[in-house]
Subunit: 340 residues, 2 copies
């Protein structure tokens, strides 16, 4: 009995590493000191930082992967993963330094792995983040044919005195929402059940209410808020930011609220995009569940003092972010969200 | 249709996070600035470093997980994962700072998740590494009932002038092997096929040649080489280290060899432990495949100058490492391993 007969193909692994190397190298920033294939990836912070705090996060893409499997499109999942991670550390004021991925599959296809890493590398480049390494695991008997799971790990940095914590959020502050590009990477178990089981759609079917196929609508990549927020991180005027992921606004916004403060979201101030309205309506999803499952079109919510609201909107507009709006504010109460 | 009916149980997720928090908090080192549950984990390097290089690695446990599923024992897999990651950055001279995990499952069991995180937290504490965060993903339809996948991500640091690269390895140097505790986390697809399919054992069956059950032998955790190697990292006398993982000595040792150097492993100088002999014999595995699939009892191989061999062995002995031996040396040739 030899190793290959056990279901693990070392040669496919080596071929995958070969293809990945060039994609990863194109993301390297001046801090990178190593080549892909070392035991560990090496990164130097350099002399540019005074008192850096490392900010790190791990995440997956969840069952959005099933939409990639249905459509056979594997080059956007990596964009989802990187941008999700970038936003998760951005909300604390950090800019990304490097990213590593974990890709696990039953039988490794170098072609699919290359598509996935293409997406990772593209998004890393767009965010100025090095794809420093990763692990590609072939695990016979774990994943269905053609399926895989992928996780991402990001490390960023922020000067300690520029950390954004939400600590100064107080009643009277306002909340500004930045539009999401779609479901981002959350709510997919529910959305797929509605679209593909309840309604019975195929991924390539056009949905009039959406103006595109359901596969296109559901696969649209998670956007990164780094380009528009980066110029504002060190101003000291951004009090807090919440990345709206699993659990929706209902669960994520309270994570940045100090004791005795409550968020008020004025639903009348926000046009919920068609995709969310359609999912809620055809899926007969209770309104509370919609706002706890989906981002409802708001991917990032920023808290600033009332005096800074116009400044924030103007800065965002000058970065090309035209869809941001005030959607509510802070009032006294226990950390939670009150929908008005 | 509500979110819970889509197969995702937010409450089980919250219960899991609650149980994990205390376990993780017990691993926190002075560098940790955040609580579990923030968007990102915060870590400060502090003032102790002059010119630190961050060393990072991502890994999984591979199909060793299947042995955990068979035996119902979930508290050692986390030890495997952490120690694997610790060793992967140790070989470049780095000590661990923090660790994050990704745990994915079809239906989340807070009990199993707690067992897994117990192992992660125990190993993090043993290595002086903070369990800074992680992601627990419930992905209906991805994993078989009772199964899961887990990945780990580690960040460590080393002073730039203490980086261990293998660059100075030259003909005449000697190779010292440190014993593994078992298969560590590699070769499991082959080992499981031999033990459970070819021989047809149950996990709880006693194997006379091993003196224990096959489940115990295969599940034994990956050991960390940090405690015995840590005092030697900054001496400048360790030229290179190879962590023997997937691909065995054959594929891993050449990763640290400079051009024009070849490693010679004298098999007669090493007693291959019973587990490897048994797997090779009953599985009729060609010898080359054994040495490319399993660590054969050598979990870490250290290169030093011939003059430093006795020093290294003495230092290791004084740290309680009595099983280390010279197993070969460096000769002229293309980077590869010659078995003698």
């Amino acid at each position: 009995m030899d190793y290959k007969s056990s279901g693990v193909n070392i040669d496919a692994g080596n071929e995958t590493v070969r293809r990945i190397k060039g994609l990863a190298r194109a993301t390297f920033t001046p801090g990178v000191l190593s080549e892909i294939g070392s035991f560990g990836g090496l990164f130097s912070l350099g002399a540019a930082w005074r008192d850096p705090v490392l900010v790190s996060s791990a995440d997956g893409v969840g069952t959005k992967l099933k939409v990639a499997f249905m459509t056979g499109r594997h080059d956007t999942i990596g964009v989802d993963l990187v941008n999700h991670c970038v936003n998760d550390i951005l909300v604390q004021g950090a800019v990304p330094l490097f990213f590593l991925d974990y890709l696990a599959t039953g039988a490794l296809s170098p072609d699919v792995a290359e598509q996935i890493v293409k997406g990772l590398a593209q998004a890393c480049r767009d965010n100025g983040c090095a794809l420093l390494g990763g692990e590609t695991a072939e695990m016979p008997g774990f994943y269905a044919a053609g399926e895989y799971d992928v996780a991402g790990f990001i490390v960023g940095a922020v000067e300690r005195d520029h950390l954004i914590t939400g600590r100064t959020i107080a009643p009277g502050d306002v909340l500004v929402a930045l539009p999401s590009s779609g479901l981002h990477t959350n709510g997919y178990s529910l959305a797929r059940r509605i679209a593909f089981e309840h309604v019975g759609l195929q991924a390539d079917q056009h949905v009039a209410a959406l103006g595109e196929t359901i596969g296109e609508a559901l696969l649209r990549p998670h956007r990164s808020y780094l380009p528009v927020m980066r110029p504002l991180l060190a101003t000291g005027r951004v009090k807090g930011m919440a990345h709206i992921t699993g659990g929706g606004i209902t669960d994520n916004l309270p994570r940045i609220l100090p004791a005795d403060t409550r968020a008020r979201i004025d639903r009348s101030m926000w046009d919920v995009p068609a995709l969310f309205g359609w999912l809620g309506a055809v899926g007969e999803v209770p309104v509370e569940d919609q706002w706890r499952s989906f981002n409802m079109g708001m991917g990032l919510i920023v808290a600033v003092s009332a005096d800074d609201a116009d400044w924030l909107l103007e800065e965002l507009r000058s970065s090309g972010e035209t869809g941001a709006h005030v959607v509510g504010g802070i009032e006294a109460g226990a950390p939670s969200v009150r929908y008005a």
